[in-house]
Symmetry: C2
Subunit: 137 residues, 2 copies
DNA sequence: GTAACTGCAAACGCTTTGCACTCCC
DNA sequence: GGGAGTGCAAAGCGTTTGCAGTTAC
């Protein structure tokens, strides 16, 4: 999605285009792992010294509302924000908490089989695999 | 698992067998949905008037430690506690929050296929499907 | 008897909310 | 110009922690 499409999506839904919203969304996009609200805050406050955590939370809800990101609650600590809206597996390191997305054809096939067994059409899904990453071993 | 095995499991790991622990674990077992800490508290305080939320949280951690239950963090509200430790899909209603476990043989087969593609051996997994249940439609 | 557990209350951390000021359109 | 957005601080809520009294073994 280019900037023009993004701007149009905001405005079509009655949201204004602001520097903070763009910065937060682009930051999430560039990070492969799925940052927490505070990680976003820590990284962006250098460039945007007046930025507040409150704004970050409000923006994250807006982005979720627009279908641009997914919110993931975990057992410990904070929620994570994932800009990949397609079917994928969240590979979660149980030690350092880093997450990366795993996509494979097999997963899509499995998912389609499962869905065809269900009577209802789901609104969304989430698949996590918990493991220990190479850095933590 | 019968009571004797359960008692033995507690004691083998240095935990004492108490009325509260048994009541909390059995309550989770009998509920098909995955209750929150507060739901457990509300239901059990009639039979155990002195029971406190603090004890419930401590017990839930103990049960998790023993591998008897799984803790599931969600986007909104509280964590849920699931006594099914085998591979299954959590069917989560996005309106009322009720969860039931969905088990299918073909899921296991496909899951093993996916796992064999990974280099690492995972420590656990979680699969959620979000939908709208019949009562909420 | 003693180490572990319970119950209570206070503390904690993440997230949300309210409100005055500011900015996009 | 006006309504939406931001920044700040206070409040909210689920969960954790500390400690004195109690219980399992």
């Amino acid at each position: 999605m280019d900037d023009q499409e993004l701007f149009a999506l905001f405005r079509k839904n009655g949201y204004k285009v602001t520097a903070q919203r763009l910065a937060i969304y682009k930051f999430i996009l560039t990070r492969g792992d799925h940052p927490t609200a505070d990680q976003i805050y820590q990284e962006l406050k250098t460039d945007y010294p007046t930025l507040s955590l409150g704004t970050i939370y409000k923006t994250l809800h807006t982005l979720k509302e627009l279908g641009l990101i997914q919110e993931l609650g975990f057992n410990e600590g904070s929620k994570r924000y994932d800009p990949d809206m397609e079917l994928h597996i969240n590979m979660v390191c149980t030690k350092c908490g880093t997450i990366y997305d795993y996509k494979a054809e097999n997963v899509k096939k499995m998912w389609n089989t499962i869905l065809s067994d269900l009577r209802t059409k789901p609104k969304g899904q989430r698949i996590d695999i918990y493991y220990e990453c190479d850095d933590c071993k």
